[in-house]
């Protein structure tokens, strides 16, 4: 499903060059639930951005479902982000002026779904995350846990194969966090490939596999938690 070979990512700000990823080899199979751990600055987010096609590697090869991402145009990448990948961010990244309904609708709009399909799908997703009664609420009228569930519903809109979550519980209290983790487990059981970046070893402990990063390199790959 996800294959990386010697992936390097460099950033240049002004004259300073910074290498965030220093040659990553990684293989994630379909249907896996992986947790990515590591201290700040170890390259976790960069890795996730590259997996999610939000960014492209500076060198090395990344293939997603057999397609070489390095060879794709920006429109192809947009299409992959739209159909193949669902994002869940620490900061939720909901549109502030839009209701829960409208936020979940965004990926469907860009996929070109018809109005009737969109409506059915959005309602189905919002009831699946337990927010059928908050359809018309704006982000400011919701709790953090509710906002993150809207974001998860949005990530699922186009039935992506991969769900990428960057510190999804980072801004939540432990109870809301627990509910979100439960949701991810349900999704995993339904067959999705899930990658969660987290600081929280409790959350990582529920994953099938833990990938540990340090200084832009993989420190350990696939150890089962003790």
């Amino acid at each position: 499903m996800i294959k990386m070979k010697q992936v390097v990512k460099k950033y240049t700000t002004g004259k300073v060059e910074f290498t965030a990823l220093k040659g990553i080899d990684l293989h994630i199979r379909k249907g896996e639930l992986s947790a990515v751990m590591g201290p700040s600055g170890s390259g976790k987010s960069t890795l996730m951005n590259i997996i999610g096609c939000l960014d492209v590697p500076s060198s090395g090869a990344y293939t997603l479902e057999g397609r070489d991402v390095g060879q794709l145009t920006s429109n192809d990448l947009a299409e992959i982000r739209n159909k193949k990948i669902g994002f869940v961010f620490q900061a939720f990244n909901l549109l502030p002026y839009a209701t829960a309904y409208e936020n979940v609708e965004i990926p469907l709009l860009f996929a070109g779904a018809k109005a009737k399909q969109r409506k059915e799908r959005v309602m189905e997703l919002l009831s699946r995350v337990g927010l059928a009664d908050k359809v018309a609420n704006r982000p400011t009228e919701m709790s953090g846990g509710e906002m993150q569930r809207v974001a998860i519903a949005r990530a699922l809109a186009n039935e992506p194969d991969v769900i990428l979550a960057d510190e999804p519980t980072g801004n939540l209290d432990s109870q809301s966090g627990g509910e979100i983790v439960k949701l991810f487990h349900e999704l995993w059981e339904s067959g999705k490939t899930i990658i969660i970046i987290t600081h929280d070893s409790n959350i990582a402990g529920t994953a099938e596999r833990i990938i540990k990063l340090k200084d832009g390199m993989i420190e350990s790959n696939g150890t089962r938690p003790q």
């Binding site: 920006s74 990926p107 709009l109």
Partner: protein, 415 residues
């Protein structure tokens, strides 16, 4: 498929951002209104000053007698040159470019009596062609002095609108009898009110006009106070004035170069000078208008830039959700176009309503008369809208292009 996506996103977002859009619109409308009103009032002032200038008459020159200042053919200087009634025929016969020529006697402090009302005013004996040369146009139901009046030395009088009002009040004065220095006269007409911003001897609205011949018979004046002539081609005014000095110099024996033998007020020359001043004012207004447009444009550009820049994160979110760059740019371009164009058209409409409203202010005042009728020019309006729109769209599209060309991660980080 693609168009429907853009349409759906566009409609949805547009509805969602009423406050932001309203504020941007207000800025645009305000910019458009300030420029349109500035230029509109400038144009109105120009037109009104031109109209007022025509009150005295178009393309005319007024000639007074004078005193020689150069010795000529054995005669010393300081000799008085006076105008005679037959000078009119003499000049017209010798200068074919003179289209019309007339003359007048003046007398101030002539008593007019109607019933118990007595006023003392400026009385003029004049020729019938003053009607068109000097714009002494009668109100409907009346007439100006004609050639028959002149021939028969009729005791008829043509009144300025102001004096008619003061003497007779409301009602139709035509046919009424008044006493002019105790001599009965019949009123034959009253002048249509006009705007006049230059004069000699007094404003026409207060003038009492009687036939030239009647004047001479009553008051016995020997000399004309002045002669008025109108020329066929206003561009040859200087040449004709020079000819006048030659012709009159020959008749009264003075040096044609002697400018003080006669005094001539050439309104064509004044008009040209006036036109130059007006042109200067127009350039001035144009510069102010241009600078105002620039300020408005910068304001619009600023608002568009900030409001799109603020949406960098939104762009990042949409791109992470699978929006293509072209979708984002089309949406923002459409939005910017709609806002700038809508604001411009709205601003123009409001400017139009304001100027039309101003024209209908029912107060009579000299200031308002001079302010005239502010005129909105459609061409200038469209140009203003186009310039503001371009500035707004470019300023708005720039941050949108930037936000959608860097990778979505950076846009997502934008706070």
């Amino acid at each position: 498929m693609k168009i429907s996506i853009i349409y759906n996103v566009f409609i949805r977002d547009f509805r969602k951002q009423k406050k932001r859009i309203t504020l941007t619109l207000v800025a645009l409308v305000w910019g458009t209104i300030s420029i349109m009103l500035l230029l509109g009032f400038g144009e109105g002032l120009h037109q009104q000053m031109t109209v007022n200038d025509k009150g005295l008459g178009e393309g005319i020159a007024i000639v007074w007698g004078g005193q020689t200042s150069i010795p000529y053919k054995g005669m010393g200087k300081g000799r008085r040159i006076r105008l005679h009634v037959d000078d009119m025929e003499y000049i017209k016969g010798r200068i074919p470019e003179v289209k019309e020529i007339g003359g007048q006697y003046d007398r101030w402090g002539v008593n007019l009596k109607y019933g118990d009302q007595v006023v003392s005013e400026h009385c003029v004996g004049l020729t019938p062609n003053y009607e068109h040369m000097r714009n002494l146009i009668p109100e409907q139901g009346g007439r100006m002095i004609n050639n028959l009046d002149l021939k028969l030395k009729r005791r008829v009088v043509f009144l300025g609108d102001n004096i008619a009002n003061r003497l007779l009040g409301e009602g139709d004065p035509v046919g009424e009898q008044i006493l002019l220095n105790s001599v009965p006269f019949t009123i034959i007409g009253v002048m249509i009110p006009k705007l006049q911003n230059s004069s000699y001897g007094g404003m026409d609205e207060n003038q009492v006009s009687i036939p030239l011949t009647t004047f001479k018979a009553i008051f016995g004046d020997l000399y004309l106070d002045n002669i008025v002539y109108q020329i066929t081609d206003v561009n040859r005014n200087e040449e004709i004035e020079k000819k006048l000095y030659e012709v009159m110099g020959e008749r009264y024996k003075f040096d044609p170069e002697d400018e003080r033998a006669l005094s001539v007020w050439d309104t064509v020359a004044s008009k040209k000078e006036f036109d130059n001043i007006m042109f200067g004012i127009q350039i001035f207004m144009g510069i102010i208008g241009g600078l105002t447009l620039l300020i408005a444009g910068v304001g619009v550009a600023n608002i568009m830039y900030v409001s799109i820049k603020e949406r960098t994160r939104e762009i990042g979110i949409k791109m992470a959700m699978g929006a293509k760059r072209s979708y984002i740019l089309t949406q923002f371009l459409l939005e910017a176009l709609l806002i700038t164009f809508g604001g411009g058209v709205l601003g123009m409409a409001i400017s139009y309503i304001l100027t039309e409203g101003f024209k209908r202010i029912p107060i009579e005042s000299d200031v308002l008369n001079m302010m005239g009728r502010p005129t909105i020019s459609i061409e200038i309006g469209l140009l203003v809208i186009a310039i503001l729109s371009i500035m707004g769209v470019v300023a708005g599209l720039f941050p949108a292009m930037r936000a959608s060309s860097v990778n979505p991660v950076e846009s997502l980080r934008y706070e």
